[in-house]
Amino acid sequence: MKFNRAWSLLAAMTLGVGLLAGCSQDDKDGASGSKDSDEIKIGVNLELSGAVASYGTSEADGIQLAVDEINDDGGIDGKKIKLVKIDNKSDAAEATNAAIKLTTQENVVAIIGAATSGATVAQAQIANDNKTPLISPSGTSPTVTVNEKGEVNEFVFRTSFIDPFQGTVAANFAANDLGVKNVAIFSDNASDYSKGLAASFKEDFEKAGGKVVAEESYVAKDSDFRSTLTRIKSAKPEFIFIPGYYEEVGLIVKQAREMGIDVPLMGADGWDSPTLMDLAGADALNNTFTTNHYSSDDPDGAVKAFNDKFNEEYGKSPDAFNALGYDTVYLLKDAIERAGSVDSTKIKDALAETDGLDLVTGNYSVDENHHPIKSATILEYKDGEQVFNTKVNP
């Protein structure tokens, strides 16, 4: 997700990788024999252990379910999918190593992974150099597909929407569904994620004819928000957008409700943690909303079907990561079918032209920056439970 750590390590890695990639080029062309066989090898490079193992293992379950389904159905153009799974241990350097192994030794057609933005960015160079499409199921940072120079990573794609997009969704939801005119924004000044969401929310909300009456910020690790909330309260907003992480958001929501701020509050996927409930309490969280990729309560037919299949296989309700992993396989299948071959460059071109593909997490198209254009789900907290509210299209 939003783990942009190990940047310095990354810089060092890319230097080394440039050298390695030079050698690997020939290997790959020489080993094209495997591509004519009756199976399609797809690499899976996920966080199966380490700090964010829960993201990676959830996605792996979703991926496996989709692959089993496709293979039982006769595969893609008669070819069965074979997964090559590597655990990157939630570490950017390990993710780079895994990508090198998958492209140069295993000669995979495409790589699925990683779950976090940091570990995906760490593989981008290798994917580009080895001309192997790389699809991150849940890397939401814009930097995954567009590098710091503003160039698009030609072979890198993603299934999830990008962070700032959630700001757009929240703005549309506030303006159209809640019908509010005057809003306040309270963002974390220490986080690019939060600032990005706040900026896109403001832009789109003002475009929709609304007015931002107060814009305040805090710094991660603060615990006293009462004075700033008092200031926000006196501006009389009808809605407050708080794009932060659960540790501070929990306190903000609690303190705001204590001070008699009872307007709707809204955030993004940074809120998504059981700790939020512990900090804020179920009562304070009533009348708050978050954006997310997916909800298992979604009444949509495709979602229901996926839900049932997943339940049957794993005995539990799927979460957003399960759904994104599952969708990534179908995104790739669609591209391989349209490309008509397992040639990596053709698959890449087909991926870049994906338009209006129906997936469990929404209708998917891709723009010129490889940022998906897809719907987002709005969840509402009701007495301590997250329930499906509505789906918002971009």
């Binding site: 000044n189 305040e216 910020s217 805090y218 710094v219 690790k221 615990s223 006293d224 009462r226 004075s227 700033t228 008092t230 200031r231 309260k233 006196s234 540790e247 929990g250 306190l251 609690k254 204590e258 001070m259 008699g260 700790t275 512990d278 900090l279 309490g281």
Partner: protein, 291 residues
């Protein structure tokens, strides 16, 4: 009535700073040591309160007393183990030891329970009522009253009891106090015990008011309380209370004016200004250095 609300916010925050600052100032007053481990005692106090409320189901007052007792013991232990043998060493050696103790406690807690935060359970039904247009929560009232009671008790101990008299004597002149038959070691221990108990109480109050506690929570409030102690005049007990309240209100006013990102900076700018213009603090008397 935004300003009344902000004043209430500021005084609530300030009274927590004041409780922590008291411990700093008492220890400094008696052995001229800035006890940087004080913020960690505050953190331990918050965790003891958390465990006794959510784990053992104690009420607020038993949890507060238990936490104060454990912290008092911890304070004495730290003094006996780490500071006592440095009593005749240079002040910088003792200061560095204090920073070491602080890091040891922080990382010790992280080692044993992890760095993730914990959420304080709700002990009171939190109602707020309207006072001249400001929303005042019952919690804020409780925090204020507990702080005020503790400060009055402290004032009583220091001025009306035998141990208080001994503390004042040792602080004035340790050598002379010894000659008069005062047990200096015990007096210093008592000072650490009282100061740490106040920090423990501040920890529990902080947990209830701000909900989130974690092993590194003591660092910033500890530094702020240090600023408060210097602001009021380090070593002077009423100064610590005044310094804490002034600091809390100043921070709130800075946020209220829309400079919330400058709030922490404001506290440290105050520290710099006070050290330049009136190093002895608001309540301090200018004493000439003895050469």
């Amino acid at each position: 009535m935004e300003w009344i609300q902000q004043l209430v916010n500021g005084i609530s925050l300030g009274s927590i700073y004041a409780l922590i600052a008291l411990g700093y100032t008492m220890v400094y007053g008696i052995i001229k040591l800035i006890n940087f481990a004080h913020g960690e005692i505050f953190m331990i106090g918050a965790f003891i309160g958390y465990i006794s409320i959510s784990g053992w189901g104690l009420g607020f007052f038993p949890a507060l007393l238990l936490s104060m007792a454990v912290c008092a013991l911890l304070g004495v232990l730290i003094e006996r183990i780490a500071y006592k043998r440095l009593r005749n060493a240079t002040r910088i050696a003792a200061l560095i030891t204090a920073i070491g103790v602080s890091l040891l406690i922080q990382n010790g807690v992280i080692y044993f329970r992890g760095a993730q935060p914990a959420a304080y359970p709700q002990v009171f039904e939190n109602k707020s009522f309207n006072f001249l247009g400001a929303q005042i929560s019952t919690q804020a009232i409780l925090i204020l009253s507990v702080s005020v009671v503790l400060m009055l008790v402290l004032q009583f101990i220091v001025h009306k009891t035998k141990i208080g008299k001994a503390m004042r004597a040792v602080s004035y002149d340790a050598e002379a106090a010894k000659l008069m038959g005062i047990n200096v070691d015990n007096t210093i221990s008592a000072t650490f015990a009282i100061g740490s108990a106040l920090a423990g109480a501040a920890g529990v109050i902080f947990g209830i008011y701000y909900t989130k506690i974690d092993p590194l929570m003591g660092v910033i409030p500890g530094l702020k309380a240090f600023v408060a102690a210097v602001l009021g005049g380090i070593g002077i007990i009423p100064g610590a209370v005044a310094g804490g309240l002034v600091l809390g209100v100043v921070e709130t006013v800075v946020s209220a004016l829309g400079f919330s990102l400058w709030r922490d900076a404001a506290a440290f700018i105050i520290l710099i200004l006070i050290l330049i213009f009136k190093p002895s603090g608001i309540f301090g008397k200018n004493t000439r250095e003895k050469v």
